[in-house]
Amino acid sequence: MSGRGRLAFVAPRYGTDVVGGSEAVMREAAHGLAARGWAVDMLTTCARDHYTWRNEYPVGRTAVDGITVHRFPVEPGRGGVAHARLSARVQAGEHLTTDEQLAWLDGLFRVPDLFHHLVVDAAAYDAIILSPYLWWTTVTGAAVAPERTVVMPCLHDEAYARIPLLQTTLSAPAALWFLSEPEHELAHELVTLPDHHVVTGAGVNVPDAYDPEGFRARHGLERPYVLYAGRREGGKGWDWLLRAYALAVSRHALPLDLVTFGVGTVAVPGGLEGRVVDLGFLDEAEVGDAFAAATAYVQPSANESFSRTVMEAWLAGTLVLATEQSAVLRWHCERSGAGLCFGDEYELAQAMAFAAARPDAATAMAARGREYVLANYRWEIVLDAMERSLEEMR
């Protein structure tokens, strides 16, 4: 038992092979605080894949690098077509009744054993930290011991953020940890926040060194490329990026391939065979090299609360091209002076052309990005902010 106190981190998925921004922040924060002397339990599910929520890890308790991981089985949702209809209504801005909101929440998955654990053991924890705001684990978990609950919402401007049931995760807990100032401002627009809320940011691990040439050789990447990393799905802008990239190639004959890694299916459009390279899921040790070897990193997702991959790109000295539809990405790019925002496919094509034509200017810009990340988002800085918040809650 630690002298600092006991913490429960509640995340819908946990593991180094789990792809997701909030999951990565929760995992690394849990291990970081454990290394600083906190006793940390990670309460999570047996699911690895957020598309299927299938139970893939074994149920039970294991010790992982200084924390205790408790895995609980997922009960699949019975949403089906009804859930899809409710989601469509939410996206259309319609109001759902309370019963409908609950049906929507139940529609994907439930973890009643995890909730039961919290109900029984909540008093054993000095703080219960939940993330992100819209999953069953957070919405239900936040109701158990709100006076000791911290929610890290990972909020972005989307229709789900306007579901009243989900907004209770912003208004009810003792404290909120935001990853960026635009996320903080958005939360203020949505609900009345608890007094205790703070922009902690999210930490990024700083690699000791990069090996871009070795990475190119290992993966047979002979031409320069722009990179996209993460979830390859419509909600993250992937489909749009493919179309925009096709336009850039056909209109400008750009000499840049599009390389991608992460989860989700990559259906390469006809005409782009050999120009779009899917590396699948990359080992964590190779991720930094993938960024360092890229001419530019493209972030087309409007749904960002922090954007860890943008930080990884800047750390690797790589220019960032980001959609201006995300207030968070605009904020990072303007604050750092290290990224270029694009409003449509024509601007993205020209931004890629700039990166290819002026590598000297692109490198100089990206260097400011590295300074920005080191000044704001090293884990030591973020963990200090989290610990100050935890001490204030006592």
Binding site: A267, G271, Q350
Partner: protein, 204 residues
């Protein structure tokens, strides 16, 4: 000749709308009387569903009295875009609905710059049913024509390559001399993108 052009139209879907406007201009230059059917909120003469099975029904309803229908095919219409298994079911329904509509309408020209940019439309029985229903398909390249002939089962005499649609390659590497810092780069990107946008709207 009275022609009904169906496709995305301003103020939405900027790039797709520019293709529809180019098709309208081409028909007008050819001496035809053109009516445009597009989605709600658009600047078209007639506004109705243009995607999915509802779009197929609407096209049947609106096409009465027209000698020719020109249908713009892109990523959002006439097939609806949706992810996952639900998306595949939607795509199947839409292919069947539009395949039937094309056969009932008879005189339909589909303008599909690159059919492969319409996810899931090329290949499979429903895809073949869709494409083979058109009286004529105009594509942007020889490769697209080959795909429609070999994979989508369209008769060779029904597929032609657009004569003027090929974009003029713009040299990507020139004109960046003054973009030495972020401010200058942002300005140059905006200026060059605006030029590209105008060119696309002119159909080049």
């Amino acid at each position: 000749m009275r022609v009904l052009v169906i496709g995305p139209y301003p103020p939405f879907a900027r790039r797709e709308a520019s293709r529809t406007m180019a098709a309208v201009r081409e028909q007008v230059v050819g001496g035809n009387e053109v009516t445009v059917l597009s989605g709600a909120g658009s600047a078209a003469h007639r506004r109705d569903e243009i995607a999915g099975w509802r779009g197929a029904l609407a096209s049947l309803r609106h096409a009465r009295g027209f000698a020719l229908v020109v249908l713009l095919a892109g990523p959002e219409a006439p097939l609806r875009a949706a992810p996952g298994r639900r998306g595949r079911i939607i795509r199947l329904v839409d292919c069947v609905a539009w395949g039937l509509a094309l056969r009932l309408l008879r005189r339909v020209t589909i303008l599909a710059d690159d059919p492969d940019l319409i996810p899931g439309s090329v290949g499979g029985r429903t895809g073949r049913f869709l494409w083979s229903g058109a009286a004529r398909v105009v594509v942007g390249s020889e490769r697209s024509r080959e795909r429609l002939l070999t994979v989508a089962g369209v008769a060779p005499d029904r597929v032609t390559i657009a004569e003027t649609d090929a974009p003029t390659p713009v040299d990507w590497s020139e004109g960046w001399e003054h973009a030495a810092d972020r401010e200058a780069a942002v300005s140059a990107i905006a200026r060059r993108a605006a030029r590209d946008r105008r060119a696309a709207e002119r159909g080049r």
